[in-house]
Each structure stands twice: as C-alpha cells, then as structure tokens.
C-alpha cells in the first residue's frame, strides 16, 4: 500500500506546506504518491514530480477543481483511495477544510495536525492549544491525517524524478460556487515560509502604529508580519496575520514579539520558533518566560532604534 499526499496549490504554484507534508509521508516507509487536482495545473504537477521523496504524481485537470472546493475534491479522493494506507494533507485551512470530509466519507477517523510519527498507526498531536501532547493509535484501515507543516523539515535528498499519470475527473457535484477571493498581496515572505517574523500585539495601541513601527523593521530583516489575536481583534491588521491556536502556527528561525503579552493561545502558535525575542513594557508579561532574549522598555523608542541598529 502506498501513501497519498494531497497537494495544496493555486493552479499556478505549489504551496510550501505540501513539501513538509511529503516529508512527513516519507517517514511512513511506503511509496509516496501526490495528487494534484486543479484546472490548468500542469506546472504544479511538474514541480511536484521534481520533489525529493515523491515516486508518482497523479494529476486531475478539470474546471470544477479550479476553486479547490472540499465537496468535489473529497469525492475525487475517495474514488481513488483504494490503493492507499494513508491520506495526508497539510494542516492549513485547505487541508483542515478537506480531509475531515474525506475521512467521514471513508467512515474512518481523521487525525488532526500531527507533529510526530511514532509508527505507521501511531501519531503525536497537540491538544488544548499545545498545552498537552496526545499520542493516538488508529485502528482504521486508512489513516487520514493532517500534518502541521512546521513539525517536519523539507526533504533535501531522494529520488526527484517521479512519473506523472493523468486520472479521469470525478463528477461536478455543483453544491458550491466560489464568488470571490480577496488575498492579501504582499511583497514580504509568506508567514508559513518566512525565516524571520516580526509580530505585534496590543501594546502597539493602534493599526497606524503597527504599520509605522513594524514595517520598517520587517523590511530590514526581510521578515513576514504577524500579530496576536488581541491586535487582530482590535482591528490593527487583518485576520490572516494572526498567529496562535486559532490562527497560523509558525516556527521561524527568529520570532520577534513586540507588545505581545503572551497568552497561551498565542504561545501555541509560535513556541517552536528557534529564537524568540520579546520586547514589552511589562517585565512580568508571560512572553518573557518563553523568550530567549527579552528587552523591557518603551517599544515606541526601542523599535526605531532597533531598526536603525540592524
């Protein structure tokens, strides 16, 4: 039995989270196939075929997969599931939306957001916002799993010349229609892939301050911008900046938390960062308990100074 990874892409380019999912799949010890379902997605299939660790790419190209809706994709995956012991997707909004639907159609459990693989049927996953780690064993014939991308390093080595096979499309269920997409466009690195993240919280006091102080610093460091839930709720920045239990989970080389107190829900999203810097006025803020380097003081003075000093 082989492993099936569902590629996340936008028909033009492969999302980095897929690479981490392939790395997790490779740990399961069987051949890894990747399904690329989309419309006009040939370039994505080529990119997948060149990935280390992938032995076969299965491509389904039809207009009703263009929008990546869960209804049509789940039906397609289930129709092609017979040869697979495991079906994996990244634990992004794409994978989280899709895989429980696949699992229910197959009448199996879904295992969410794994961070470790103990054996082909036993997995480690965070619960309670990462305040506990559960080890679970699945008795189902097919294991349907979402993978936390930051927990698995991208494979550097391996066969990088997979064959590409075209599959027939499934039916268009016509249940869902995409009306619009409003993606935040930015010249900065994507949060999930950034080596450095500059993140702001309620301590910045306003959206204007957030942009005025953090953007020059992020420019200097070629960093992505993130935020705590408090900053998002206060309207400083849009929701897709949010890092934490209910937002994005990140693990960059350097995470700079500015004016963030460090609620457990926020820590859940960034505690695996390699180096954490906290800058906050309140010396008792919980963020200092996880920070490698803490600087207590007035961020309105510190951040401009830091931007100049770098």
């Amino acid at each position: 039995m082989s492993i099936l990874v569902i590629a996340e892409h936008d028909n033009l380019a492969l999302k980095a989270a897929t690479l981490h999912t392939v790395a997790a799949a490779a740990q399961l010890g069987s051949a890894v196939h990747v399904l690329v379902a989309g419309a006009g997605c040939a370039a994505v299939a080529q990119a997948v075929a060149a990935l280390a660790g992938v032995s076969k790419v299965k491509v389904v190209d039809a207009s009703h997969y263009a929008d990546q809706t869960a209804e049509n994709l789940a039906a397609l995956i289930v129709a092609h599931s017979a040869a697979y012991s495991h079906i994996l997707a990244p634990a992004t909004t794409f994978g989280k939306n899709l895989l429980p639907r696949v699992a229910a159609l197959l009448d199996v459990a879904q295992i969410s957001e794994i961070v470790g693989i103990e054996s082909p049927d036993t997995f480690v996953r965070p619960i309670y916002a990462g305040n506990a780690l559960a080890t679970v064993q699945s008795a189902d014939a097919v294991k349907v799993i979402t993978v936390r991308p930051t927990a698995f390093d991208v494979l550097e080595q391996g066969s990088a010349n997979a064959s590409i096979e075209n599959l027939a499309a499934g039916p268009d269920l016509g249940l869902t229609q995409l009306l619009s997409h409003e993606l935040t466009t930015s010249a900065r690195p994507e949060l999930g892939a950034a080596k450095v993240i500059v993140s702001g919280g309620r301590g910045l006091a306003s959206g204007a301050n957030y942009h005025a102080l953090l953007e020059p610093l992020a420019d200097k460091l070629n960093a992505a911008l993130g935020a705590s839930r408090a900053a998002v709720d206060a309207g400083f920045v849009p929701n897709d900046y949010q890092i934490g239990q209910t937002g994005r989970v990140v693990a960059p080389q350097l995470y700079i938390a500015i004016g963030i107190s460090g609620a457990i829900q926020h820590l859940a999203g960034m505690r695996d960062s390699k180096v954490i810097v906290a800058i906050n006025q309140d010396a008792d803020a919980p963020i200092f308990q996880v920070a490698d380097y803490g600087l207590v003081g007035d961020l309105f003075k510190i951040i401009p100074d830091l931007t100049v000093a770098l």
Partner: protein, 254 residues
C-alpha cells in the same frame, strides 16, 4: 427554516490545563467547564438569524454526559428555542470522537430536517476541527468552514471564509453546514431574566442507541504528556546588546 447548533462542553477558556500524572489525559475533576467559545459564536449567529426573521426555530444539540445540560441551558438563555442532549455515560463521553459526534448529529438532522447547521470551527479541548466537515460529508451537503460572515437569501447562503492568506466568499446551496470562526460575531451575555426563562424551555434527552449510532472510538489514546518547556532566556539591557546577541550568540541575523 430550522437552524441546528451543536454545542460542546469543554474546560473553560481561562483555565490552565494540567496533564494527569499517570499520562492518561488532562485533569477534569473540579475544573470549571463552559461552552466551547466557537460554539457560543455559532449560537449567536443562529439567534441573529432568528431575530432577522430568517430562522424560524433554533435548536441546540449537545452530545455527552448529563452535565452537558448546563451548556444547553446556556444556549437556551442566549436565545435557542429548545435543546436536545444525546446522552452518554461519563466514560463514553470522554472517548466521544468527531466521527461519532458527526454520526449522532446526522441522526438528529434526519429527524429535525434543519435548513442550516452552524457549528464552532473547532473545540478548544481536542483542537480537532473536524465535526462540521464530517457532518457535511455524511449528509451530502455543502460546507463553508471558518465563516466570518453569513448572508442567507433565496435558498442559498453566501459565506465569507477566513483562509490562509485572506478571505474567500462561497455561495452554497441550502441545506448546508457552516462552521464559525472568531470574527463571525461577538456573542451576547445571557441576562438573568433569560437564564430564568431558559429553565422552562424544552430539553429532550436521547440515547445514542435510540438514534442507532455506534459511538465506539476509532482512535486509542495511548498517553498525554506536557510539551517540553522552553527555557526562559536572558534579559538584555538595550538595543545594542540585543543586536550583538542575535548576531554573535544566536547567529540568526547577519
């Protein structure tokens, strides 16, 4: 149109969870319990649809032990019209997994025929984020997860979804499943008169066997441990020291 809102009893958002010494789970004894915060948002969304004259009845449903009646009473106090508890014993309640809950909810949907089911996108205990999508699959209905806006018109729902990198708006045919994200609304507080009124609203109790659903867990929980603690680091005096440490000690900037 009836709107069904499933709600889950979880450890209160503000409680710091403790892992049991025998690694069998987290401590639930004498811990404050509450309705899952995302489910409160779902209840609020349903009640607003009723206030807008779109929903005719809001039915809250919970699956678990007898104590889940508390959360159902909260939903009733927030404006739900009636409640259904699918009651299990305490041991079964701890092992109740999303697939089993989705099957129980399907049985309730088959009976109640709602036009819309609104759920929280995830429960803050197991962080699974599965039940809504699974219920949609079992019903063969469309799904709109992570909703930040819902507009109902002409037998369809227009739902704005919070996705990685931005927003997406779907138009889905009803009946359908919507899961609520944080920014869908700000739930109201239950007022004392409404808490009193909620005590008189109907609350039916069913058993999984009445619904013909097998709730045997598919996943075995082998152990629960605390994550490795991060060592607290050092406090630096000023920007110059911070930059020096990042360059020379951590070597994360050039």
């Amino acid at each position: 149109m009836k709107v069904l809102v499933p709600v889950k009893r979880v450890i209160d958002y503000n409680v710091k969870v403790r892992v049991k010494a025998d690694q069998s789970g987290v401590e639930l004894t004498n811990v404050k319990m509450a309705m899952n915060p995302f489910d409160e948002i779902a209840v609020e969304a349903a009640v607003r649809l009723k206030e807008a004259g779109i929903a005719t009845e809001v039915i809250a449903v919970s699956c678990g032990a007898t104590a889940c009646q508390e959360q159902l009473r909260t939903a009733l106090a927030l404006g739900a019209d009636r409640a259904i508890l699918v009651e299990t014993d305490a041991a079964q309640a701890e092992g109740l997994q999303p697939l089993a809950v989705a099957k129980l909810l399907k049985a309730v949907c088959d009976k109640e025929q709602p036009g819309l089911v609104i759920l929280g996108k995830q429960a803050i205990d197991d962080d699974a984020n599965q039940t809504g999508q699974m219920l949609a699959a079992l019903m063969g209905w469309p799904q709109a997860t992570f909703a930040s806006k819902i507009v109902i018109a002409e037998g369809r729902a227009e739902v704005t979804r919070e996705i990685d990198g931005g927003l997406e708006t779907l138009s889905i045919q009803l009946p359908a499943i919507v899961t609520a994200d944080l920014r869908l609304n700000e739930p109201r507080y239950a007022t004392l008169p409404n808490i009193m009124k909620a005590k008189k609203k109907p609350l039916d109790v069913l058993k999984p066997a009445d619904l013909g659903v097998d709730i045997t867990p598919r996943l075995t929980l082998l152990k629960v441990v605390e994550p490795a603690r991060r060592q607290a680091g050092v406090t630096v005096a000023d920007v110059a020291e911070l930059v020096a440490k990042l360059k020379n000690e951590a070597k994360v900037i050039a």
